[in-house]
Symmetry: C2
Subunit: 228 residues, 2 copies
Protein backbone atom coordinates (compact mmCIF):
# COMPACT_ATOMS: atom_id res chain seq x y z
CA UNK A 1 0.00 0.00 0.00
CA UNK A 2 1.32 3.38 -0.98
CA UNK A 3 0.27 6.70 0.51
CA UNK A 4 0.76 10.25 -0.62
CA UNK A 5 -0.03 13.68 0.74
CA UNK A 6 -1.51 14.72 -2.61
CA UNK A 7 -3.28 12.44 -5.05
CA UNK A 8 -1.06 10.97 -7.76
CA UNK A 9 -2.34 9.78 -11.12
CA UNK A 10 -1.36 6.42 -12.51
CA UNK A 11 1.09 6.62 -15.40
CA UNK A 12 1.27 4.14 -18.24
CA UNK A 13 3.10 3.84 -21.52
CA UNK A 14 1.47 2.71 -24.77
CA UNK A 15 3.21 1.81 -27.99
CA UNK A 16 2.05 2.22 -31.56
CA UNK A 17 4.31 -0.30 -33.29
CA UNK A 18 4.20 -0.25 -37.07
CA UNK A 19 5.40 -2.89 -39.47
CA UNK A 20 5.20 -3.34 -43.20
CA UNK A 21 3.81 -6.53 -44.69
CA UNK A 22 4.10 -6.38 -48.43
CA UNK A 23 1.61 -3.70 -49.41
CA UNK A 24 0.07 -3.31 -45.98
CA UNK A 25 1.05 -0.98 -43.20
CA UNK A 26 0.25 -2.88 -40.03
CA UNK A 27 0.09 -2.08 -36.35
CA UNK A 28 0.71 -4.42 -33.45
CA UNK A 29 -2.25 -4.87 -31.10
CA UNK A 30 -2.97 -7.03 -28.11
CA UNK A 31 -6.24 -8.43 -26.96
CA UNK A 32 -6.84 -7.41 -23.38
CA UNK A 33 -7.31 -10.14 -20.83
CA UNK A 34 -8.37 -7.95 -17.92
CA UNK A 35 -11.03 -5.37 -17.23
CA UNK A 36 -11.61 -2.71 -18.29
CA UNK A 37 -12.16 -3.51 -21.96
CA UNK A 38 -11.38 -7.22 -21.46
CA UNK A 39 -11.53 -8.87 -24.87
CA UNK A 40 -10.99 -5.58 -26.70
CA UNK A 41 -7.95 -4.91 -28.80
CA UNK A 42 -5.57 -2.23 -27.61
CA UNK A 43 -2.10 -0.84 -28.11
CA UNK A 44 0.45 -2.77 -26.07
CA UNK A 45 1.46 -0.94 -22.92
CA UNK A 46 1.14 -0.84 -19.17
CA UNK A 47 2.05 0.80 -15.92
CA UNK A 48 5.36 2.55 -15.42
CA UNK A 49 7.35 1.20 -12.51
CA UNK A 50 8.49 3.67 -9.94
CA UNK A 51 12.20 3.31 -10.52
CA UNK A 52 11.97 2.81 -14.25
CA UNK A 53 12.69 5.19 -17.09
CA UNK A 54 9.76 5.85 -19.43
CA UNK A 55 11.33 4.42 -22.54
CA UNK A 56 12.51 1.39 -20.57
CA UNK A 57 8.91 0.84 -19.44
CA UNK A 58 7.76 0.92 -23.01
CA UNK A 59 10.35 -1.66 -24.03
CA UNK A 60 9.55 -3.89 -21.07
CA UNK A 61 5.81 -3.81 -21.64
CA UNK A 62 6.27 -4.53 -25.31
CA UNK A 63 8.41 -7.50 -24.60
CA UNK A 64 6.08 -8.82 -21.91
CA UNK A 65 2.93 -8.43 -23.96
CA UNK A 66 4.09 -9.21 -27.44
CA UNK A 67 7.58 -10.67 -27.29
CA UNK A 68 8.88 -7.90 -29.52
CA UNK A 69 12.29 -6.49 -28.57
CA UNK A 70 15.04 -4.44 -30.10
CA UNK A 71 13.12 -1.81 -31.88
CA UNK A 72 13.24 1.81 -32.90
CA UNK A 73 11.24 3.81 -30.37
CA UNK A 74 10.49 7.49 -30.05
CA UNK A 75 8.20 9.42 -27.79
CA UNK A 76 5.03 10.49 -29.51
CA UNK A 77 2.93 12.46 -27.02
CA UNK A 78 1.27 12.19 -23.65
CA UNK A 79 -2.45 11.67 -23.36
CA UNK A 80 -4.10 12.70 -20.14
CA UNK A 81 -7.80 13.42 -20.51
CA UNK A 82 -9.22 12.96 -16.99
CA UNK A 83 -11.76 10.34 -18.06
CA UNK A 84 -9.71 8.33 -20.52
CA UNK A 85 -9.62 5.34 -18.17
CA UNK A 86 -12.78 4.34 -16.27
CA UNK A 87 -10.83 3.03 -13.26
CA UNK A 88 -8.91 6.04 -12.13
CA UNK A 89 -6.91 8.92 -13.52
CA UNK A 90 -4.36 7.44 -15.90
CA UNK A 91 -1.93 9.50 -17.88
CA UNK A 92 -0.26 7.64 -20.71
CA UNK A 93 2.96 8.43 -22.48
CA UNK A 94 2.61 7.16 -26.03
CA UNK A 95 5.55 5.87 -28.08
CA UNK A 96 5.90 5.46 -31.81
CA UNK A 97 7.80 2.45 -32.97
CA UNK A 98 8.81 0.85 -36.22
CA UNK A 99 9.98 -2.69 -36.85
CA UNK A 100 10.60 -5.14 -39.59
CA UNK A 101 7.74 -7.44 -38.75
CA UNK A 102 9.42 -10.51 -40.17
CA UNK A 103 12.31 -10.13 -37.77
CA UNK A 104 9.94 -9.62 -34.85
CA UNK A 105 7.59 -12.55 -34.41
CA UNK A 106 4.86 -11.86 -31.88
CA UNK A 107 3.89 -14.00 -28.92
CA UNK A 108 1.19 -12.97 -26.48
CA UNK A 109 1.87 -12.90 -22.76
CA UNK A 110 1.12 -10.93 -19.56
CA UNK A 111 -2.29 -9.33 -19.39
CA UNK A 112 -2.94 -10.18 -23.01
CA UNK A 113 -4.79 -13.10 -24.57
CA UNK A 114 -2.96 -12.63 -27.80
CA UNK A 115 -1.00 -10.22 -29.88
CA UNK A 116 -1.38 -9.73 -33.63
CA UNK A 117 -0.65 -7.43 -36.54
CA UNK A 118 -3.59 -5.55 -38.05
CA UNK A 119 -3.60 -3.52 -41.27
CA UNK A 120 -4.11 0.10 -40.32
CA UNK A 121 -7.03 0.39 -42.69
CA UNK A 122 -8.88 -2.60 -41.21
CA UNK A 123 -8.74 -2.13 -37.48
CA UNK A 124 -11.07 -3.39 -34.79
CA UNK A 125 -12.53 -1.02 -32.22
CA UNK A 126 -9.77 -0.14 -29.76
CA UNK A 127 -9.87 0.21 -25.98
CA UNK A 128 -9.58 3.55 -24.15
CA UNK A 129 -8.55 6.44 -26.40
CA UNK A 130 -6.17 4.24 -28.34
CA UNK A 131 -7.75 5.21 -31.64
CA UNK A 132 -6.72 8.81 -31.00
CA UNK A 133 -3.22 7.73 -30.13
CA UNK A 134 -3.00 5.65 -33.26
CA UNK A 135 -4.28 8.48 -35.45
CA UNK A 136 -1.59 10.77 -34.12
CA UNK A 137 1.04 8.08 -34.53
CA UNK A 138 0.09 7.53 -38.16
CA UNK A 139 0.17 11.22 -38.92
CA UNK A 140 3.57 11.50 -37.30
CA UNK A 141 4.88 8.46 -39.13
CA UNK A 142 3.85 9.85 -42.51
CA UNK A 143 5.23 13.28 -41.89
CA UNK A 144 8.52 12.08 -40.40
CA UNK A 145 9.07 9.70 -43.24
CA UNK A 146 9.24 12.55 -45.72
CA UNK A 147 12.25 14.18 -44.16
CA UNK A 148 13.92 11.57 -42.02
CA UNK A 149 15.17 8.20 -43.14
CA UNK A 150 13.04 6.34 -40.64
CA UNK A 151 11.76 3.98 -43.25
CA UNK A 152 14.76 1.72 -43.04
CA UNK A 153 13.56 0.51 -39.67
CA UNK A 154 10.87 -1.39 -41.55
CA UNK A 155 13.34 -3.22 -43.74
CA UNK A 156 15.70 -6.11 -43.22
CA UNK A 157 19.38 -5.34 -42.99
CA UNK A 158 19.92 -5.95 -46.70
CA UNK A 159 17.35 -4.60 -49.09
CA UNK A 160 16.81 -3.50 -52.67
CA UNK A 161 15.90 -0.04 -53.89
CA UNK A 162 12.58 -1.37 -55.09
CA UNK A 163 11.77 -2.47 -51.55
CA UNK A 164 12.55 1.01 -50.29
CA UNK A 165 10.35 2.55 -52.93
CA UNK A 166 7.43 0.23 -52.15
CA UNK A 167 7.78 1.08 -48.49
CA UNK A 168 7.47 4.78 -49.21
CA UNK A 169 4.60 4.25 -51.59
CA UNK A 170 2.72 2.10 -49.11
CA UNK A 171 3.02 4.49 -46.23
CA UNK A 172 2.56 7.71 -48.15
CA UNK A 173 -0.23 6.21 -50.21
CA UNK A 174 1.00 7.56 -53.53
CA UNK A 175 3.00 6.29 -56.48
CA UNK A 176 6.53 7.60 -56.94
CA UNK A 177 8.64 7.82 -60.08
CA UNK A 178 11.27 5.10 -60.11
CA UNK A 179 14.16 7.05 -61.60
CA UNK A 180 13.59 10.15 -59.53
CA UNK A 181 13.14 8.14 -56.38
CA UNK A 182 16.42 6.33 -56.91
CA UNK A 183 18.27 9.52 -57.61
CA UNK A 184 16.99 11.13 -54.45
CA UNK A 185 17.46 8.23 -52.13
CA UNK A 186 20.97 7.52 -53.37
CA UNK A 187 21.92 11.19 -53.25
CA UNK A 188 21.55 11.14 -49.46
CA UNK A 189 24.72 9.06 -49.32
CA UNK A 190 23.10 6.92 -46.64
CA UNK A 191 22.76 3.77 -48.72
CA UNK A 192 25.77 1.55 -49.16
CA UNK A 193 25.72 -0.91 -52.06
CA UNK A 194 26.80 -4.40 -51.00
CA UNK A 195 28.79 -6.86 -53.02
CA UNK A 196 25.70 -9.01 -53.24
CA UNK A 197 22.53 -9.28 -55.22
CA UNK A 198 19.12 -10.75 -54.56
CA UNK A 199 18.76 -14.47 -54.95
CA UNK A 200 15.91 -16.78 -55.91
CA UNK A 201 14.02 -14.35 -58.07
CA UNK A 202 12.63 -15.15 -61.50
CA UNK A 203 14.08 -12.05 -63.09
CA UNK A 204 17.21 -9.97 -63.01
CA UNK A 205 18.59 -9.95 -59.47
CA UNK A 206 18.57 -6.55 -57.79
CA UNK A 207 21.52 -4.88 -56.12
CA UNK A 208 21.39 -5.11 -52.34
CA UNK A 209 22.07 -2.12 -50.11
CA UNK A 210 22.41 -1.48 -46.42
CA UNK A 211 21.52 1.67 -44.50
CA UNK A 212 24.54 3.49 -43.10
CA UNK A 213 23.48 4.29 -39.52
CA UNK A 214 26.81 5.78 -38.58
CA UNK A 215 26.79 8.19 -41.46
CA UNK A 216 23.23 9.12 -40.56
CA UNK A 217 24.18 9.82 -36.95
CA UNK A 218 27.00 12.02 -38.23
CA UNK A 219 24.75 13.95 -40.60
CA UNK A 220 22.09 14.44 -37.97
CA UNK A 221 24.53 16.17 -35.69
CA UNK A 222 25.32 18.89 -38.13
CA UNK A 223 21.70 19.55 -39.03
CA UNK A 224 20.32 17.56 -41.84
CA UNK A 225 17.36 17.49 -44.13
CA UNK A 226 16.22 15.39 -46.99
CA UNK A 227 12.87 15.25 -48.67
CA UNK A 228 11.02 12.54 -50.52
Amino acid sequence: MYSYKYPHPAVTVDCAVFGLDDGDLKVLLIQRDLEPFAGSWALPGGFVKLEEDLEASARRELEEETGVTDLYLEQLATFGAPDRDPRERVITVAYLSIVNLFDHPVTAATDARKAAWFPVDALPRLAFDHEDILDLALARLRSKLRWQPLGFEFLPEKFTLTQVQRLYETILGEALDKRNFRKKILSTGLLVPLEEVETDVAHRAAQLYRFDRKEYARLQKKGYGFEI
Copy 2:
Protein backbone atom coordinates in the same frame (compact mmCIF):
# COMPACT_ATOMS: atom_id res chain seq x y z
CA MET B 1 -4.04 11.08 2.43
CA TYR B 2 -4.29 8.96 -0.69
CA SER B 3 -3.55 5.26 -0.98
CA TYR B 4 -2.93 3.02 -3.94
CA LYS B 5 -2.40 -0.68 -4.50
CA TYR B 6 0.58 0.07 -6.72
CA PRO B 7 2.93 3.03 -6.40
CA HIS B 8 2.03 6.04 -8.52
CA PRO B 9 4.49 8.67 -9.63
CA ALA B 10 3.76 12.35 -9.19
CA VAL B 11 2.96 14.18 -12.42
CA THR B 12 3.73 17.80 -13.13
CA VAL B 13 3.58 20.15 -16.08
CA ASP B 14 6.32 22.62 -16.96
CA CYS B 15 6.13 25.40 -19.51
CA ALA B 16 8.83 26.88 -21.69
CA VAL B 17 7.26 30.23 -22.55
CA PHE B 18 9.09 32.27 -25.15
CA GLY B 19 8.72 35.93 -25.91
CA LEU B 20 10.54 38.35 -28.17
CA ASP B 21 11.95 41.58 -26.80
CA ASP B 22 13.44 43.56 -29.64
CA GLY B 23 16.48 41.55 -30.64
CA ASP B 24 16.31 39.11 -27.75
CA LEU B 25 14.55 35.80 -27.55
CA LYS B 26 13.50 35.48 -23.92
CA VAL B 27 12.09 32.77 -21.74
CA LEU B 28 9.86 33.15 -18.73
CA LEU B 29 11.31 31.80 -15.48
CA ILE B 30 10.25 31.79 -11.86
CA GLN B 31 12.38 31.83 -8.78
CA ARG B 32 11.42 28.90 -6.59
CA ASP B 33 10.27 29.67 -3.09
CA LEU B 34 10.18 26.12 -1.78
CA GLU B 35 12.60 23.24 -1.53
CA PRO B 36 14.00 21.54 -3.47
CA PHE B 37 16.02 24.16 -5.32
CA ALA B 38 14.56 27.02 -3.26
CA GLY B 39 16.00 30.23 -4.66
CA SER B 40 16.86 28.65 -8.00
CA TRP B 41 15.25 29.72 -11.23
CA ALA B 42 13.03 27.21 -12.99
CA LEU B 43 10.43 26.85 -15.68
CA PRO B 44 6.98 27.68 -14.37
CA GLY B 45 4.92 24.58 -13.66
CA GLY B 46 3.52 22.38 -10.97
CA PHE B 47 1.49 19.37 -10.04
CA VAL B 48 -1.38 18.15 -12.16
CA LYS B 49 -4.65 17.93 -10.30
CA LEU B 50 -6.45 14.66 -10.38
CA GLU B 51 -9.51 15.83 -12.28
CA GLU B 52 -7.69 18.26 -14.50
CA ASP B 53 -6.65 18.00 -18.12
CA LEU B 54 -2.90 18.31 -18.78
CA GLU B 55 -3.07 21.44 -20.87
CA ALA B 56 -5.46 22.99 -18.36
CA SER B 57 -2.92 22.30 -15.63
CA ALA B 58 -0.26 24.05 -17.63
CA ARG B 59 -2.46 27.10 -18.10
CA ARG B 60 -3.43 27.17 -14.45
CA GLU B 61 0.12 26.87 -13.18
CA LEU B 62 1.28 29.57 -15.54
CA GLU B 63 -1.39 31.92 -14.38
CA GLU B 64 -0.76 31.15 -10.72
CA GLU B 65 2.98 31.51 -10.90
CA THR B 66 3.44 34.26 -13.45
CA GLY B 67 0.08 35.88 -14.14
CA VAL B 68 0.38 35.05 -17.82
CA THR B 69 -2.81 33.86 -19.49
CA ASP B 70 -4.25 33.44 -22.95
CA LEU B 71 -1.36 31.98 -24.77
CA TYR B 72 -0.43 29.59 -27.51
CA LEU B 73 0.48 26.27 -25.95
CA GLU B 74 1.53 22.96 -27.42
CA GLN B 75 2.81 19.80 -25.86
CA LEU B 76 6.55 19.41 -26.21
CA ALA B 77 7.54 16.10 -24.60
CA THR B 78 7.41 14.20 -21.34
CA PHE B 79 10.48 13.91 -19.13
CA GLY B 80 10.58 11.03 -16.72
CA ALA B 81 14.10 10.09 -15.67
CA PRO B 82 13.67 8.31 -12.34
CA ASP B 83 15.99 10.68 -10.46
CA ARG B 84 15.00 13.99 -11.99
CA ASP B 85 13.41 15.15 -8.75
CA PRO B 86 15.17 14.43 -5.43
CA ARG B 87 11.89 14.14 -3.50
CA GLU B 88 10.15 11.32 -5.27
CA ARG B 89 9.47 10.04 -8.75
CA VAL B 90 8.10 12.94 -10.74
CA ILE B 91 7.17 12.73 -14.38
CA THR B 92 6.71 16.06 -16.08
CA VAL B 93 4.83 16.89 -19.23
CA ALA B 94 6.57 19.85 -20.83
CA TYR B 95 4.73 22.47 -22.89
CA LEU B 96 6.06 24.93 -25.41
CA SER B 97 4.46 28.30 -25.44
CA ILE B 98 4.82 31.57 -27.29
CA VAL B 99 3.55 34.98 -26.31
CA ASN B 100 3.88 38.60 -27.16
CA LEU B 101 5.65 39.60 -24.00
CA PHE B 102 4.36 43.17 -24.06
CA ASP B 103 0.78 41.93 -23.91
CA HIS B 104 1.62 39.56 -21.07
CA PRO B 105 3.03 41.36 -18.07
CA VAL B 106 4.35 39.01 -15.42
CA THR B 107 3.53 38.96 -11.73
CA ALA B 108 4.94 36.39 -9.35
CA ALA B 109 2.67 34.37 -7.10
CA THR B 110 2.13 30.87 -5.63
CA ASP B 111 5.32 28.96 -4.84
CA ALA B 112 7.41 31.58 -6.60
CA ARG B 113 9.30 34.54 -5.22
CA LYS B 114 9.26 36.24 -8.56
CA ALA B 115 8.86 35.70 -12.24
CA ALA B 116 10.97 37.31 -14.95
CA TRP B 117 12.00 37.15 -18.57
CA PHE B 118 15.57 36.01 -19.32
CA PRO B 119 17.36 36.13 -22.66
CA VAL B 120 17.93 32.55 -23.77
CA ASP B 121 21.62 33.22 -24.23
CA ALA B 122 22.09 34.58 -20.70
CA LEU B 123 20.34 32.14 -18.43
CA PRO B 124 20.96 31.35 -14.78
CA ARG B 125 21.41 27.75 -13.66
CA LEU B 126 18.02 26.07 -13.70
CA ALA B 127 16.44 23.67 -11.23
CA PHE B 128 15.85 19.95 -11.94
CA ASP B 129 16.42 18.98 -15.57
CA HIS B 130 14.89 22.21 -16.80
CA GLU B 131 17.93 23.01 -18.89
CA ASP B 132 17.29 19.86 -20.91
CA ILE B 133 13.65 20.78 -21.31
CA LEU B 134 14.57 24.26 -22.44
CA ASP B 135 17.12 22.96 -24.95
CA LEU B 136 14.52 20.75 -26.51
CA ALA B 137 11.97 23.57 -26.52
CA LEU B 138 14.39 25.88 -28.31
CA ALA B 139 15.24 23.29 -30.92
CA ARG B 140 11.56 22.67 -31.51
CA LEU B 141 10.79 26.37 -31.70
CA ARG B 142 13.45 26.93 -34.34
CA SER B 143 12.48 23.98 -36.44
CA LYS B 144 8.75 24.62 -36.25
CA LEU B 145 9.19 28.21 -37.18
CA ARG B 146 10.60 27.24 -40.53
CA TRP B 147 7.53 25.47 -41.73
CA GLN B 148 4.68 26.69 -39.57
CA PRO B 149 3.58 30.26 -39.09
CA LEU B 150 4.00 30.11 -35.34
CA GLY B 151 5.95 33.29 -35.25
CA PHE B 152 2.88 35.46 -35.27
CA GLU B 153 2.18 34.45 -31.70
CA PHE B 154 5.11 36.64 -30.73
CA LEU B 155 3.69 39.71 -32.41
CA PRO B 156 0.92 42.17 -31.56
CA GLU B 157 -2.28 41.94 -33.57
CA LYS B 158 -1.12 44.55 -36.07
CA PHE B 159 2.43 44.36 -37.28
CA THR B 160 4.73 45.34 -40.12
CA LEU B 161 6.63 43.04 -42.43
CA THR B 162 9.88 44.32 -40.98
CA GLN B 163 8.77 43.18 -37.53
CA VAL B 164 8.06 39.72 -38.91
CA GLN B 165 11.44 39.58 -40.55
CA ARG B 166 13.26 40.67 -37.40
CA LEU B 167 11.40 38.00 -35.48
CA TYR B 168 12.58 35.31 -37.85
CA GLU B 169 16.11 36.64 -37.86
CA THR B 170 16.26 36.76 -34.08
CA ILE B 171 15.02 33.25 -33.54
CA LEU B 172 16.84 31.59 -36.39
CA GLY B 173 19.98 33.56 -35.70
CA GLU B 174 20.67 34.44 -39.33
CA ALA B 175 20.07 37.40 -41.60
CA LEU B 176 17.42 37.06 -44.29
CA ASP B 177 17.07 38.89 -47.59
CA LYS B 178 14.37 41.54 -47.37
CA ARG B 179 12.87 41.15 -50.83
CA ASN B 180 12.89 37.37 -50.80
CA PHE B 181 11.48 37.26 -47.31
CA ARG B 182 8.59 39.53 -48.23
CA LYS B 183 7.79 37.54 -51.33
CA LYS B 184 7.69 34.28 -49.40
CA ILE B 185 5.77 35.48 -46.41
CA LEU B 186 3.17 37.25 -48.53
CA SER B 187 2.84 34.31 -50.89
CA THR B 188 1.39 32.22 -48.06
CA GLY B 189 -1.76 34.31 -48.30
CA LEU B 190 -1.93 34.37 -44.52
CA LEU B 191 -1.15 38.06 -44.10
CA VAL B 192 -3.92 40.56 -44.61
CA PRO B 193 -2.92 44.17 -45.27
CA LEU B 194 -4.89 46.61 -43.13
CA GLU B 195 -6.08 50.05 -44.13
CA GLU B 196 -3.61 51.50 -41.70
CA VAL B 197 0.04 52.32 -41.45
CA GLU B 198 2.48 52.68 -38.59
CA THR B 199 2.34 55.93 -36.65
CA ASP B 200 4.92 57.96 -34.74
CA VAL B 201 7.95 56.88 -36.69
CA ALA B 202 10.62 59.21 -37.98
CA HIS B 203 10.62 57.72 -41.43
CA ARG B 204 8.22 56.40 -44.01
CA ALA B 205 5.35 54.65 -42.21
CA ALA B 206 5.10 50.91 -42.92
CA GLN B 207 2.00 49.06 -44.01
CA LEU B 208 0.34 47.16 -41.17
CA TYR B 209 -0.83 43.57 -41.55
CA ARG B 210 -2.73 41.07 -39.50
CA PHE B 211 -2.35 37.31 -39.45
CA ASP B 212 -5.34 35.45 -40.86
CA ARG B 213 -5.94 32.70 -38.32
CA LYS B 214 -9.08 31.45 -40.02
CA GLU B 215 -7.34 31.02 -43.33
CA TYR B 216 -4.52 29.26 -41.56
CA ALA B 217 -6.92 26.85 -39.86
CA ARG B 218 -8.46 26.15 -43.26
CA LEU B 219 -5.09 25.52 -44.91
CA GLN B 220 -3.90 23.29 -42.10
CA LYS B 221 -6.83 20.96 -42.58
CA LYS B 222 -5.96 20.17 -46.15
CA GLY B 223 -2.29 19.60 -45.44
CA TYR B 224 -0.08 22.57 -45.67
CA GLY B 225 3.54 23.45 -45.82
CA PHE B 226 5.54 26.57 -46.19
CA GLU B 227 9.22 27.14 -45.73
CA ILE B 228 11.27 30.12 -44.70
